[in-house]
C-alpha cells in the first residue's frame, strides 16, 4: 500500500488540509507540536476507524468545529483507492471507492483488504517511534536480549510486557520459595492442618479402643452381676435358714424320727370334747344328787303347838266354830262404847255452854213463854227511851257550859299591851330618828297606837246582855230533862221486879232473864241425849258378859296360845293360832307328797350317775389315763405336739433341696453364720466391683458420646477441604498464568525463529550499514543473540555497548517490519527512531531505509533538522509550512 494523499477535514489541530505524498520514502519534518503524531493517528484512524469516546484524546476531535475525519488516497496492488471516513457508528462512517475500477466498495471490503490487521496490530508492526525505542533502550541487557530474541513476533513488546505483568501477578499468588503469597500461606496452613488432623485422627482409634474397653467392661460387669445375683440369693437363703435355724433343725429331726413317735394314741380335740362332756355329766349328776339329799332332811320338822293342836283337835274345832260370832260381838261392843263416849261428850258440852247443870232445869210451858216474851219486850222499850233522854240532857248541859264560859272570859280582860308597846316604839323612833314635821307626825302616830291599846276592852263590853238570856233558856230545859229521867228509872225498876218473880217461879234464878227463852231449845235436846246414853250402857254390859264367858272356855290351851291381855287381844291371839295351825297342817301335807316324788327322782339320777361313771372310766382307759387331770394334761401335751408338727410341716415345705443341703452341711448355727458372713463379704466386694464398673462404663460411654459428638475432627476435615479447594483454585490461577506466560513466550520465540532467516538477512544489512560495517553477522541461538564483528569476534548482545545494542535492536526491528510488510503490504511509519544515532549512523540508517522503499512506502517523521540534509529535498515535507486549504506539493 502506498498512501498518496491525505485530505483532512478536521482532525486534531488540522482542518481542511491536504497533504500529497508522492514518494515511496517521505520524510515529514516538523518541530515538536507540529502535528507528527496527529498525522500518524489520522492515517491509522481513517484506515482502521476512529477511537471511541472511551479514549477521548486518541479521537483527535477537530478543534475548530470542522467536519471530523477526512480522506485518504492510496494505491494497493496497483489499483487506486479513495477512502473517506467521517464521524459515525463503529469507528466512523466509511466511504470507499476503487478509483481504478470506478467501483464503490463497503467498509467490509476495507476490512477484508486490511485483514488481519487492525489499528493496534498495525501500530505494533508498522509503526515504531522514539518513545517505544526509548523504553527498549532503558532495559537491562538481559531484558534487551530477550526482546531482541523475540523481536520476530508480532507485538512482541506488548507481549513481553504482558508476560512481565503476568509473571508479577503469578508471583503475587505463589513463589516456590516465597513466604507471604496467598498460595504459600495456604499451603503452610494446609501442612499445619494436616498435622492437626493426624493427631485428631487418633480420636478414631481412641474411640475404637474405648468402645472395645466398654465391651470388655460390660462383659466383666455381666459376670459380676451374675455372681452378685448368686451371692444375694445365697445371703437371703442363709439369713432365712439362720433365723429359723433351730426350727429347721427340728424339722429335719422330726422328719427323721417321725415314724417312731407315732406309738400311743393321740387325744384329738374331738376326743377331748367327748371325754370332757362325759366328765361334766358325771359331775353334774353328782351335784344334783347331793342337792336332793340335803332337801330331804329339812322337811321332817313339826312345831310343839302343832302337836298340841293335833292332840286337842276336836276341842279346838268346836271352839273355833264360835270364834267368828265372838269376834263380831267384840266389834259391836267397841262401837257401842264409842257411841256412849260421844253422848257423854255432848252432855258435857251443853253444861259447859250454859255454865250450869241442865239436869235440874224444867221446860217452860207455852203460856209462860208468851208472858216472858211480853216482859222482856217492855223492858227493852223503856231502856231505849231512857237512853235517848239522857243524850238530850247531856247536849243541853254542854251548851250551857259553853255559854257560861264565854261570859266569864270577857269580864276579866284589861289593857292591850301589844298596841301600847307598839305606840311607845313609834314615839321613840319619832323622837330620836326623825326631825321637824316628821318628828311631830311620828309622835302623834305613836300616841294614837298606844291609846288604842289602852281603850280597846272598853269598846267590846256592848255584847254581854244577849248571852245572859240564852243561858237562862238552857237552864230550864235541863230541868225538864232531869224530871223525865227520873220517871223512866222508876218504870225499869218495876219491870225488873216482875222478872225476878217469874224466875223464882220457874226455878230460873241461876240463869240471866235474857237467857230464859234461848235455853228452852237446848234443854229439850239435852234430855233426849240422856235417854239414849242409858240405852247404850245396857247394851255394853250384855256384850261384855258374853265375851268373858267364851274366853273362859279357852283356858285349856291358855299356855300354848299364851293367852293374856284384854278380850280383843285374846281373840286375836286365838285367831292367829288357829290360822297358823291351819297353814302348818297344809304344809305338812304337801311335804309328804314332795318327799315321795324326790325319792323317785333320786333313784333315777343315781342310775344315770352310775352309767356316766362307767362310760367316763371307759373313755379314760382308752387313752390310758386314770383321771380327768391326767387326761387334760395328756390332751394339752398332744395339742402342743400337733401344733409343733403342723408348723414343722409348713417349715418343711419352705425348705428347698438346697436349703436341706445347707442345713446338713452346717450342724450349728454358728457355722452357718460364719459361712454367711463370708458370703456377705464376697457380696460386698462384688458390689464394690459392680459400682466401679458402672462408674467406669458411664465414664467410658460419656467419653464415647463426647468423641462422637465432637465436631473437632469434622471441622478440621472441612477446613482441610476448604483449604484444598482454595489451594486448588489458587493453583489453577497460578498455573494458568504460568502456562500463559510460557505460551506467549513460546509463541514469540517460535514466531521469531520462524521469521529469523528473513529478519536476520534484512537486519544484518541494516546493522552493517548503521555500524558502518563494524558488524557483519547476527546469530540467534536458543539462549541469546550474538553479533559477529568485522574482526570475526563474536559478541553476546549483553557484551555490546548500549549504543551498539540499540542499533542492533533498531536494525532487527526494522528488519521485522520489513519482513512483516512483505507479508502484508502497508506503509512503514517511523517516528524519529534514530534519535540516539550519531550523524554518520543516522545517515547510514536513512539511506538503508531508502533502500527498503523498493518494496514499501516509508513515512519518516522527524523533528531533527539535521536529518533533512541526508535526503533529497523532494522527499521532505515540512509540516511547519502546512496551512489550511493549501495543497502541499513537492
Amino acid at each position: 500500500m502506498q498512501i498518496t494523499k491525505l485530505n483532512i477535514y478536521g482532525f486534531g489541530k488540522f482542518h481542511d488540509t491536504t497533504i500529497s505524498i508522492s514518494n515511496r520514502f517521505q520524510l515529514l519534518y516538523g518541530e515538536n507540536e507540529a502535528g507528527k503524531s496527529t498525522l500518524v493517528a489520522f492515517i491509522t484512524s481513517v484506515l482502521f476507524g476512529f477511537e471511541t469516546g472511551k479514549h477521548r484524546y486518541a479521537m483527535y476531535l477537530p478543534k475548530q468545529g470542522s467536519t471530523y475525519g477526512g480522506e485518504l488516497f492510496f494505491t494497493h496492488h496497483g489499483e487506486h483507492y479513495w477512502l473517506k471516513r467521517v464521524s459515525g457508528t463503529h469507528g466512523g462512517e466509511v466511504t470507499f471507492r476503487n478509483l481504478t475500477l470506478d467501483q464503490d466498495l463497503t467498509k467490509q471490503d476495507l476490512n477484508t483488504m486490511l485483514r488481519p490487521l487492525n489499528k493496534s496490530l498495525f501500530q505494533q508492526i508498522y509503526c515504531f517511534d522514539e518513545r517505544a525505542l526509548q523504553a527498549i533502550f532503558t532495559l537491562n541487557r538481559f531484558d534487551l536480549t530477550q526482546r531482541i530474541q523475540r523481536i520476530g513476533a508480532i507485538g512482541s513488546d506488548s507481549w513481553i510486557g504482558l508476560t512481565k505483568q503476568l509473571t508479577q501477578d503469578a508471583q503475587q499468588l505463589y513463589k516456590p520459595r516465597g513466604r507471604v503469597q496467598p498460595l504459600v500461606t495456604k499451603l503452610k496452613q494446609y501442612d499445619e492442618l494436616t498435622q492437626k488432623l493426624e493427631s485428631a485422627k487418633t480420636q478414631y482409634s481412641k474411640y475404637l479402643t474405648i468402645e472395645q474397653t466398654v465391651q470388655d467392661t460390660q462383659r466383666t460387669q455381666n459376670g459380676v452381676t451374675a455372681q452378685l445375683k448368686t451371692r444375694k440369693a445365697q445371703v437371703n437363703q442363709y439369713q432365712r435358714l439362720l433365723s429359723g435355724f433351730e426350727d429347721y433343725q427340728q424339722v429335719l429331726a422330726l422328719e427323721q424320727h417321725g415314724a417312731e413317735s407315732e406309738s400311743t394314741q393321740h387325744i384329738s380335740t374331738d376326743d377331748w370334747q367327748q371325754v370332757t362332756q362325759r366328765y361334766t355329766k358325771v359331775v353334774q349328776l353328782q351335784q344334783e344328787l347331793d342337792e336332793l339329799s340335803g332337801h330331804m332332811t329339812e322337811n321332817v320338822a313339826m312345831t310343839a303347838s302343832q302337836r298340841f293342836y293335833e292332840s286337842h283337835q276336836q276341842q279346838f274345832d268346836q271352839l273355833a266354830n264360835q270364834l267368828p260370832e265372838q269376834l263380831a260381838n267384840a266389834h259391836d261392843l267397841h262401837s257401842q262404847e264409842a257411841q256412849r263416849t260421844a253422848f257423854r261428850r255432848r252432855l258435857q258440852g251443853f253444861e259447859t255452854q250454859y255454865g250450869l247443870s241442865l239436869a235440874h232445869l224444867q221446860l217452860l210451858s207455852a203460856e209462860a213463854v208468851t208472858a216472858l216474851t211480853d216482859l222482856l219486850q217492855t223492858k227493852q222499850r223503856t231502856s231505849i227511851e231512857q237512853e235517848t233522854t239522857t243524850k238530850q240532857w247531856q247536849k243541853h248541859q254542854q251548851d250551857f257550859n259553853r255559854l257560861s264560859d264565854q261570859s266569864t272570859t270577857t269580864a276579866t280582860s284589861g289593857v292591850d299591851f301589844k298596841w301600847l308597846g307598839a305606840g311607845i316604839v313609834v314615839v321613840l323612833i319619832a323622837l330620836f330618828a326623825l326631825s321637824g314635821l316628821f318628828r311631830t307626825l311620828g309622835g302623834v302616830a305613836g300616841l294614837l297606837i298606844a291609846g288604842y291599846g289602852i281603850f280597846k276592852p272598853t269598846l267590846n263590853g256592848t255584847q254581854r246582855s244577849e248571852a245572859d238570856s240564852q243561858l237562862a233558856l238552857l237552864s230550864s230545859q235541863l230541868d225538864a230533862d232531869r224530871r223525865q229521867l227520873h220517871a223512866l228509872d222508876d218504870q225499869l225498876i218495876n219491870l225488873d221486879a216482875q222478872l225476878n218473880q217469874f224466875g223464882q217461879l220457874h226455878q230460873l234464878t241461876s240463869v240471866e232473864p235474857d237467857q230464859w227463852l234461848p235455853i228452852q231449845t237446848a234443854l229439850r235436846e239435852y234430855q233426849q241425849v240422856q235417854m239414849r246414853l242409858n240405852e247404850t250402857q245396857q247394851q255394853i254390859d250384855h256384850l261384855s258378859r258374853s265375851s268373858r264367858a267364851f274366853l273362859s272356855q279357852w283356858q285349856f290351851a291358855g299356855e300354848v296360845i299364851g293367852l293374856g291381855g284384854d278380850v280383843d287381844h285374846q281373840l286375836s291371839q286365838i285367831n292367829q293360832f288357829l290360822s297358823e295351825r291351819h297353814d302348818e297342817s297344809r304344809r305338812l301335807q304337801r311335804d309328804k307328797q314332795t318327799e315321795a316324788a324326790a325319792k323317785l327322782h333320786r333313784q333315777s339320777i343315781n342310775q344315770q350317775l352310775q352309767h356316766g361313771r362307767q362310760s367316763f372310766a371307759q373313755a379314760l382307759s382308752t387313752f390310758g389315763v386314770s383321771d380327768i387331770e391326767s387326761f387334760n394334761q395328756r390332751y394339752q401335751a398332744d395339742r402342743t405336739l400337733a401344733e409343733k408338727t403342723a408348723r414343722a410341716q409348713a417349715l418343711a415345705k419352705q425348705l428347698t433341696e438346697e436349703d436341706r443341703q445347707v442345713l446338713q452341711r452346717f450342724s450349728t448355727q454358728r457355722d452357718l453364720n460364719v459361712a454367711l458372713q463370708s458370703i456377705i463379704k464376697q457380696q460386698n466386694s462384688l458390689e464394690g466391683q459392680h459400682e466401679a464398673n458402672v462408674q467406669q462404663l458411664s465414664e467410658q460411654r460419656l467419653a464415647l458420646t463426647q468423641l462422637a459428638n465432637s465436631h473437632q475432627y469434622q471441622d478440621l476435615l472441612q477446613k482441610q477441604a476448604d483449604l484444598q479447594s482454595d489451594i486448588t483454585q489458587l493453583t489453577d490461577q497460578w498455573l494458568t498464568k504460568q502456562l500463559l506466560i510460557k505460551w506467549i513466550d513460546e509463541t514469540l520465540l517460535n514466531a521469531s525463529k520462524g521469521r529469523q532467516p528473513a529478519i536476520v538477512t534484512v537486519a544484518e544489512s541494516v546493522f552493517q550499514s548503521v555500524t558502518d560495517g563494524g558488524y557483519t553477522q547476527i546469530v540467534f541461538t536458543d539462549q541469546t543473540v550474538q553479533v559477529v564483528a568485522k574482526s570475526g569476534v563474536t559478541y553476546d548482545v549483553g557484551e555490546l555497548s548500549s549504543g551498539t545494542a540499540e542499533q542492533l535492536y533498531v536494525a532487527l526491528r526494522l528488519a521485522f517490519t520489513k519482513v512483516m510488510a512483505d507479508t502484508v503490504d502497508m506503509p512503514i511509519i517511523i517516528d524519529d527512531a534514530f534519535v540516539n544515532f550519531d550523524r554518520g549512523r543516522t545517515q547510514h540508517a536513512l539511506s538503508t531505509l531508502q533502500d527498503l522503499t523498493d518494496s514499501h512506502q516509508i513515512l519518516y517523521f522527524t523533528a531533527n533538522q539535521d536529518n533533512l540534509q541526508f535526503v533529497d529535498d523532494a522527499q521532505i515535507l515540512d509540516l511547519n509550512q502546512l496551512t489550511s486549504n493549501s495543497v502541499m506539493q513537492n
Binding site: A58, Q714, S725, D732, T736, V824
Partner: protein, 409 residues
C-alpha cells in the same frame, strides 16, 4: 418382595469449594447426606421393605469420622428395630482391615472379603439369596464376578458388587463387564462405586444406585437410592430421590451489551427458569465473552462479579432455591485479532505448552501435595486451565489494545 438398594453414602466426606455459602445454607448442605440417609430409612420403614442392601463406600476409611459412623449405626439400628434386615458390603473407601471394629449393630449382615451368599426368607415365604463381598484393601484388581456362585434354586438371587466396568489396562475397582453380570442369570445386580445413578442393563436390571447426595458438580443431577420390588417374578428398581441439593450448570450467553447488572438479572431469570424441586447449586457457564468488555470479563474471571452477585443472592437464595457458587467462562472461540498473523505460532506454542507433562512440570513442588497432584493430573484441569489461559490472553490482548489506544493520545 421389596428392598432398598443404596451405595456410596460417603457420609463423612467434606464438601469442596463451598466456603462462600451463607452459614445457614452451608449447614443445610453439610447435613444433606445425613438427611438423605434418614429419608432412606424412613422410606424403608414406610414401604415395609424386607431388607436394605448398602453396596460399599458408606464412609471414608481415610477420614474415619466417628460421628458419621455412629449416625449410620443409629439409622441401621432403626431399620433393625423395624425388623428390616440390613446387608452391607464394604467398598474401596471403607474396606475391611485387620482391626476392623465398626460400630454397626451386630444384626447387620456384613459380607467378608470372599464372595459369600446370605439367605433370606421374606415374610411371605419368598426365598432370597444375596451374594456379595467386601474390599479387603483399597484396590481390588481381581475380576470378582467369576467368584460369584451360580444362581441357586431360590426365588430371587441378588448380587452386590462395588466396582467399575473394565476399561483399559488399569482397573483398581473389581472390574467387570455387563455381559459377565448378565451371564450369571441373577435377578438383580446392585452396584456401587459410580456416584451417578445409572441403569447398565435391564434384563436383569444392573443398577448403580449412585451416591445418595451429590457432593460436587461432577455428581450433578438427582441423587437417592433404588426401591427394588418384584413383579411377575422380575425385579424392578425405582429411583427414589433423597438428596436436598442438586448440582447443575447454567449456560449463560453474553454479548456486547451485557453489563454487570444486566448479567445479574439474566442469571436470576435463568435460575427461575431452571427451578428445581431441590435446592440448586449452580455453576454458571458463560459463553460469548468475545464481545464483552474486557473489564467485565476480568471481573467474571477474577471473582469480582460473583462477589457482587453473592450480596444479591444472599438475600434471595431461599426464595430462589438456588445458589451460584462458581462461574466458568468459556474460552473465546476466536483468537486475538492481531495474533492472527502469528496464529500458527500461537497454535504451535499452545500445543507445546498445554500438555499434562508441562503442566505438572510447571506445578513443580505443588505436586508434592496429593490432592493437588490428583487435581493437576486430571484432564479436566488441563482443559480448564487452557480455557482460562485463552480467555485471559484474549482479554489481556483486548485490554492492551485499549491501552495502546490511550497511548496514542
Amino acid at each position: 418382595m421389596k428392598f432398598i438398594h443404596a451405595a456410596d453414602l460417603h457420609l463423612d466426606s467434606p464438601f469442596l469449594g463451598m466456603q462462600q455459602l451463607p452459614a445457614a445454607l452451608w449447614q443445610r448442605l453439610h447435613d444433606a447426606p445425613f438427611q438423605a440417609v434418614k429419608r432412606l430409612v424412613a422410606t424403608a420403614i414406610e414401604q415395609q421393605v424386607d431388607f436394605v442392601v448398602l453396596v460399599g463406600d458408606l464412609f471414608d476409611r481415610e477420614t474415619q469420622s466417628i460421628r458419621a459412623q455412629v449416625f449410620l449405626a443409629e439409622q441401621l439400628q432403626l431399620l433393625i428395630d423395624h425388623h428390616i434386615s440390613v446387608f452391607v458390603s464394604y467398598g474401596n473407601h471403607d474396606h475391611l482391615t485387620e482391626n476392623h471394629v465398626l460400630t454397626l449393630p451386630t444384626e447387620v449382615a456384613v459380607f467378608s472379603a470372599d464372595v459369600e451368599t446370605k439367605h433370606f426368607t421374606t415374610q411371605t415365604g419368598e426365598r432370597v439369596a444375596i451374594s456379595g463381598f467386601s474390599y479387603p484393601q483399597r484396590w481390588l484388581e481381581t475380576n470378582m464376578v467369576t467368584h460369584f456362585p451360580e444362581r441357586g434354586t431360590v426365588d430371587y438371587q441378588i448380587g452386590l458388587l462395588h466396582g467399575a466396568i473394565k476399561q483399559g489396562d488399569e482397573n483398581h475397582y473389581a472390574p467387570f463387564t455387563v455381559s459377565e453380570l448378565q451371564a450369571t442369570h441373577y435377578d438383580y445386580w446392585a452396584l456401587g462405586h459410580i456416584h451417578k445413578p445409572q441403569l447398565l442393563a435391564s434384563q436383569p436390571e444392573i443398577v448403580y444406585a449412585g451416591t445418595i447426595q451429590g457432593r460436587n458438580k461432577l455428581e450433578d443431577g438427582p441423587h437417592g437410592f433404588e426401591l427394588v420390588s418384584s413383579s411377575t417374578g422380575q425385579l424392578h428398581a425405582e429411583f427414589i430421590r433423597a438428596d436436598q441439593f442438586e448440582w447443575l450448570t447454567l449456560n449463560i450467553q453474553v454479548n456486547a451489551d451485557t453489563t454487570d447488572e444486566s448479567l445479574m438479572s439474566q442469571v436470576e431469570n435463568a435460575i427461575i427458569d431452571a427451578k428445581q424441586s431441590v435446592f440448586g447449586l449452580i455453576e454458571l457457564q458463560i459463553s460469548g465473552i468475545e464481545t464483552l468488555s474486557p473489564a467485565l470479563v476480568s471481573r467474571l474471571t477474577d471473582g469480582t462479579w460473583l462477589a457482587r452477585f453473592d450480596q444479591q443472592q444472599r438475600r434471595r437464595y431461599d426464595e430462589q432455591g438456588a445458589w451460584v457458587y462458581s462461574i466458568s467462562v468459556a474460552a473465546p472461540k476466536q483468537t486475538v485479532t492481531y495474533a492472527q498473523l502469528d496464529a500458527k505460532y500461537w497454535a504451535q506454542a499452545g500445543d507445546a505448552v498445554f500438555t499434562p507433562d508441562n503442566l505438572q512440570q510447571t506445578a513443580g513442588r505443588l505436586m508434592q501435595y496429593d490432592f493437588l497432584a490428583t487435581h493437576i493430573k486430571q484432564d479436566e484441569t488441563l482443559k480448564a486451565i487452557t480455557e482460562a489461559a485463552k480467555t485471559e490472553l484474549f482479554n489481556q490482548a483486548r485490554l492492551e489494545e485499549e491501552q495502546d489506544a490511550d497511548h496514542q493520545a
